[in-house]
Symmetry: D2
Subunit: 343 residues, 4 copies
């Protein structure tokens, strides 16, 4: 038997609030392409959440959300600064380069999967001649690919730096919910008030079947973005089914309750692992993922028992991701098996 | 009150067979990105339907299905022959050109929205110098944008012509179900046995919430297509929810029962309209759409009463589309209102 | 023996003023990529010619000049209105679509190869929904592909219409010299004072070996255009050799003297042809090309005798193009052969 | 006064053999777009040089030669392995990414600017999932960006490795002439017999005003490449002027005599520098460039005296490039100034 519980937060299904909304939205005929009431409600709910009149677009997945958002900030001869471990660099098969027709990603570094301000400045300043793409944007992943979270001050500092360097500022929020749940700050503070121009707001990993929101806080950058989505195969005809889950999950703070649960499960797992001999946490556990080095034989034994998880950064490193659906029992079962598998 | 029943077949919701499968698939954790059992079952069901070992990929919408399929047949300096009324030309905001990085659509003509073989040959032969994009593919819409259906013989003739001219052959089957329901031929006969290399097999208009299948009968053309989908933002992480509706709808011939119903509703509407004075059917009613010229005042009256429909080809032309959800009562109500609105 | 004198104006070589400048520029070492004195002088000469502080870039050929200029006006989901006989549509193998990553050309019509203002307005207004690319620019060819010239008033009217419709205005001036020579108006009046935002200023057909200038009258649109050229393979390292011919040809009005000569040769040919029985001019002879319908047997006889010319718009139509190098003797020899070949 | 003699090999002009051919080719009318005798002769001369029936295309510059060649080996979701110091990565402003519509460059390392075989294998094997672009080609620069030359055995080993890994093999030969002059091997041995599929054969740095050749040894990869060039703005109308210099320089071994001279000048400079206290050569001097670390004050003094050279890899590193036009007197003058400027 294969245990995929911790392989990713996209191995879990649809959470009840999202599913109920979909079922509720499946009633009768309705205008297509977003000219329906559910889409209007979902957009309004997102605007309320961010306390501002943002331009909101729903697209199908994270690669599209990030790639289209970044393409709207750049031309092909520009470049985008990102962390060398960012999703746009490591896991989108060149999506940003494709949608922007060739924009280069410039890799910067920083501890715990977070961009170091000085390294961003170094990368931006490295080349200023026309033989190299001109930096036009910075993108960060919040929470990061290694389960950490930029503090509010860190986001603000990056926002200020972007403004100083005349760069646009994008946030890949595939796990924005987990970041907010960890930081306990307002979504507005963590985004536009800190200088973020556009946010990819993740729905799938929160518990939706499909769909992300692209939220433009900078109206100029959103110009003709609806055309961009349409041409790029990202305009849903039955839009109500992309929009309805947002209505359901933003009601009664469900999105935060679900994300906080996922974070708590990761915390539970992290606490257990950190107490084990021969096991070390690789990064602070701040969102819904745990990265740990395991003895090689332990990892092998776990895989033999059917546990599915990603190996990361060489031998022994393992990634465990929790979701809205992860239970304490599952965490404890994993912990027990790891303990047994220790040498 | 707005009546959107006949505005498009994408104003209706999810049909029960599709929704039930989604709900059934929403149980427990499951491998992501298509490595799950529902995806395997859906691919197998499509292969069974077409009686061949096709390569099957699920993408989010029709623009993506068509654009990615066509991009896999061409380079940027090639061209694709299509009908001047085809969806890829008129309603995808340049999606095919974008995904192929510039491939030109060459417009051919033909009665009833169907490509005329001689006109295809004329367009292909018109230019053979390097100053104009080189024809590499033909695409047809089945059923067409004007509610007609290519006969089996017509598809076979186009397939043979493509083979003779060394062109790939793509079928935009956003309403493939309606075409099969009308023709009562086997899906295999209507596609690969007739020379079709790749089919965009429409799910949304059949009754799914989101999702189309790209079915490659020519394995060479499918090479690395999974990478193409991933890069283009068309790989669903929770793939089971794109796949499950296909399992549900291909069971017990539901897809055909639903499509036949939609066709019957269009037929009922067409029959009523054709009997009215001052009203003329613009095209044979063969699938699920009716195009009719109405007296201008009639059209205005209908719109004033809240009926939503597309105007088409100038003043007075109206498009009414039926779906799996259209009822005889709705048809009859529309008919009654049209009759009342006649001068 | 093959007579290619009239096949095109690019069958002739380098005119003396251009060649002499190249030879003069070939002295000693010089900074590359345009940071040399010849490039500075050429840019200044163009600015002087247009009586304004334009942004000037030198690229290698006309496809690049047009495609890069147009790409700077649009995004991939936009569209560009052009005449159905324009070079960008008929003879650049999809270059504009490629460089813009998919921008669609919308074809408008008009007599004598010139855009009809009303038809431009019709095309622009035809679609205003997101399912079709949004018009963002108009491009005209001056002189046109059929040897005619937009009058100053016609250009001004198009410029005003573009401003009204919020469209950018591009002029493909591959044969701008011939147009100016015909109209005897100032280059400034014919371009930016009439609303032209960017001009592709042709050098090759004037008598240079290679190279065109892209002249931006609208500085905002020129932003980062140097990067665009570099990335697109259009930045010459030994730029002096692209720039020097401009210095030579803009001195002492050489460019106009050469273009006026080419026009005069076409005029001489046109006058002779118009007097022949069975021969008809297809378009007014205003620039350096003559389009005429010949008896079919006449065309065949000419080709058999080695005369090379393009057939155009069906049987019997022939295009003869004159250049700076065309001589009256050549024209008269052609005329004599045509006369002999008449039935 | 600015001394640009050593800033680059593209600060020098046209060498006599190239210029004489251009002047000779400027006689009379001639078919355009490559259908002329000079182009035929140039292609034949290149085929003779490589002792094989290669497909030869002339384009305007090195960015285009490399980018179009690489684009013909890949789709947008593929990747290309190159050295982190390669020109395609560091100096083409994202040209390869643009022309391929997003293909990613994967950076490998190796001493002396040359790809290390083991590091290539590591990069190729690092990712085999669809979330990362699939490696399809390797490109090397011969001679390299740091003035070194791959030995014949090194090229052969890379060629064999590419074959084993099912990758295409491209050589950026902007300074191919210098590499051949250094190695004294046959061009055929150094390219197709060693597994190279396509070569960018540099003309400009050899002494031409403009123009490079793309030489396909693998005919399949050259399919429709003429269309690719045309669409990409790289088809010269007056092709004879791009072709003629090749005829001139490949006659009487002029290309090798010129390149050997440039190499000898670099060697003379390198020998002098290596004997100076406080100066160190950074790489073996094998082609026409010398990289040396100078005392910081020395570099500053040189620049103050008007010497133009690129700084490289941090403070003190300087690049001096020799060309066909560099004289022993110029080298000696530079050497004398450096000696004087030492602390």
């Amino acid at each position: 038997m294969l245990h995929t519980e911790f392989a990713s937060d996209n191995t879990s299904g649809i959470c009840p609030e999202a599913l109920n909304s979909i079922i509720e939205a499946n009633s009768g005929v309705m205008a297509s392409y977003g000219n329906d009431d559910w889409t209007r409600r979902a957009c309004d709910a997102i605007r309320d959440l961010f306390e501002t009149d943002a331009d909101v677009f729903f697209v199908f997945n994270g690669t599209a959300a990030n790639s289209l958002a970044l393409a709207s900030l750049c031309q092909s001869y520009h470049s985008i600064v990102c962390h060398k471990l960012s999703h746009v660099e490591t896991d989108e098969c060149g999506g940003p380069e494709f949608f922007s027709n060739g924009t280069k990603l410039l890799l910067a570094d920083g501890a715990d999967g977070k961009l170091d301000l000085a390294d961003v400045a170094r990368v931006v300043a490295a080349r200023t001649d026309i033989h190299y793409p001109k930096p036009r944007a910075v993108t960060i992943t919040q929470s990061t690919e290694v389960g950490t979270v930029y503090s509010l001050a860190e986001v603000q500092a990056l926002g200020a730096a972007c403004r100083d360097m005349d760069l646009s500022f994008h946030m890949d929020g595939a796990r924005f919910a987990n970041a907010v749940a960890h930081l306990q700050v307002s979504p507005a503070d963590l985004t536009w008030r800190a200088g973020v121009d556009v946010l990819s707001f993740g729905g799938t990993k929160m518990g939706m079947p499909v769909g992300e929101a692209v939220v433009f806080f900078n109206h100029d950058l959103a110009q003709d973005f609806a055309y961009r989505c349409k041409q790029a195969g990202q305009l849903a005809s039955k839009m109500r089914f992309l929009a309805a889950p947002w209505v359901g999950m933003l009601q009664n703070n469900a999105w935060q309750i679900r994300a906080a649960h996922a974070n708590a499960m990761a915390s539970r797992l992290g606490a257990a692992l950190s107490a084990m001999p021969g096991v070390a946490l690789m990064f602070p556990v701040q969102a819904n993922a745990v990265f740990a080095t395991l003895p090689e034989t332990t990892a092998a034994t776990l895989k033999a028992r059917g546990w599915s998880f990603y190996s990361f950064i060489g031998a022994g490193g393992a990634r465990f991701v929790c979701s809205w659906a992860t239970t304490a029992e599952q965490v404890d079962a994993l912990v027990a098996d790891i303990r047994q598998a220790l040498p």
